[in-house]
Symmetry: C2
Subunit: 253 residues, 2 copies
Amino acid sequence: MTEAQKARLAMRAGEWRGPTLFQVPGYVQANLVVLPKTDAYDFLVYCQRNPRPCPLIDVTDPGDPEPRLSAPGADLRTDLPRYAVYRNGVRCEDAHDIRDLWQDDSVGFLLGSSMTFDDALERAGVPKSKEVWVLDTHLQTVPSGKFRGPMVVTMRWMTPAQAVIACQLTGRFPFNHGAPIHLGDPAAIGVDLRRPLYGEPVQEIPEGVTPVFWACGVTPQRIALLTRPDLMITHAPGHAFVTDIKADQFCIP
Amino acid sequence: MTEAQKARLAMRAGEWRGPTLFQVPGYVQANLVVLPKTDAYDFLVYCQRNPRPCPLIDVTDPGDPEPRLSAPGADLRTDLPRYAVYRNGVRCEDAHDIRDLWQDDSVGFLLGSSMTFDDALERAGVPKSKEVWVLDTHLQTVPSGKFRGPMVVTMRWMTPAQAVIACQLTGRFPFNHGAPIHLGDPAAIGVDLRRPLYGEPVQEIPEGVTPVFWACGVTPQRIALLTRPDLMITHAPGHAFVTDIKADQFCIP
């Protein structure tokens, strides 16, 4: 049994309810979005039009909770450590199991997460950031139907030399947000470091480091706040789905 | 006006009805598939599950013939040199204009074409193949709804040194089929060189060269033969849509 399978079984058994950040290194982690079939077409087109924040790794058949391409045998209703439930665009309860909420027409979307390349960066000589911030921007995504709104980004501190390595290396992971979308001045993309969505507020950028920004899979969650689908389920931030795909593989499938 | 825009206007005016292979270098060329909205969801998922043969560059809104991301102002009904019309999975008439066939619920899909990287290969020291063959394989694609069937590939002859360059270089074009899916023995992927779909039949592989194979955007056309949609329109083989996207750009959009 692989480390990815072991992790998922521990989550299914309720023994693992914490974050997946920096856990199960070497395996592609994915953000989860569950929508009814009626919303799925527009969302698919939205992902196609915005591959940087929404790189699709797997789309399940309606009603089928098994991600057959990325983790055969897994169950998207039980195999994540923590879920966030949105009703009419408002985040309501969190859950550790969504079997009660899964419908006959539920479609599960798995989107590559930037958590995936943190391990590859470390092997390339770029130490893990102590913190990974998640921030709103003023960059608009390309709309599809009712799905529209600004892009969310992750931010890491790096020295300029590390940033150069990161541009080369993460470009090789197109299914995990790819290369940075910005580096340097946060204000240029409308980022306010004092108001992160996740992470500690930052008053000042430390000397000698450059903020480096990647498109973030939290974007569709923010979009949900604006488009108010009746029911939308996602992973809880930082609590991603661990696939069987090796992060160093160049193509999926 | 760019060379891409000039080319499309010449096609719209009926002055350009020939192939686009090796024409308008530097611009991403795309395969076209037009389907009714009712088939579009399964086809979108099919493309997501098979990104090597079906790398989606642009999906139009239902009824709208303008590819807003890849060629704003263009018209998919008139701006290709030649179209192939399939009825119930059978290739019927060819056309130079599909305004009469375009419906209120028509959706245009543009899929990156391997023609795009031929120019980049030449700049990297790999001369253009005199011929590019299109061939059936026994590799099965991942199904979605009624869309299922074997993958079609393109084949180019290269020296081993050129093949090494090609693997590195085309991997940088994930929206144009990316790296090769195979090199060497054609039989290993079920290819019969004596029976190409396009190109002259080959009796013997010349000495000193290796066949190199890429997933091909003709795959969805072959799938149409098997799944028999009422009406499906594609570009005629070799007569692709010329987008405004520069082939050397790393990301779309």
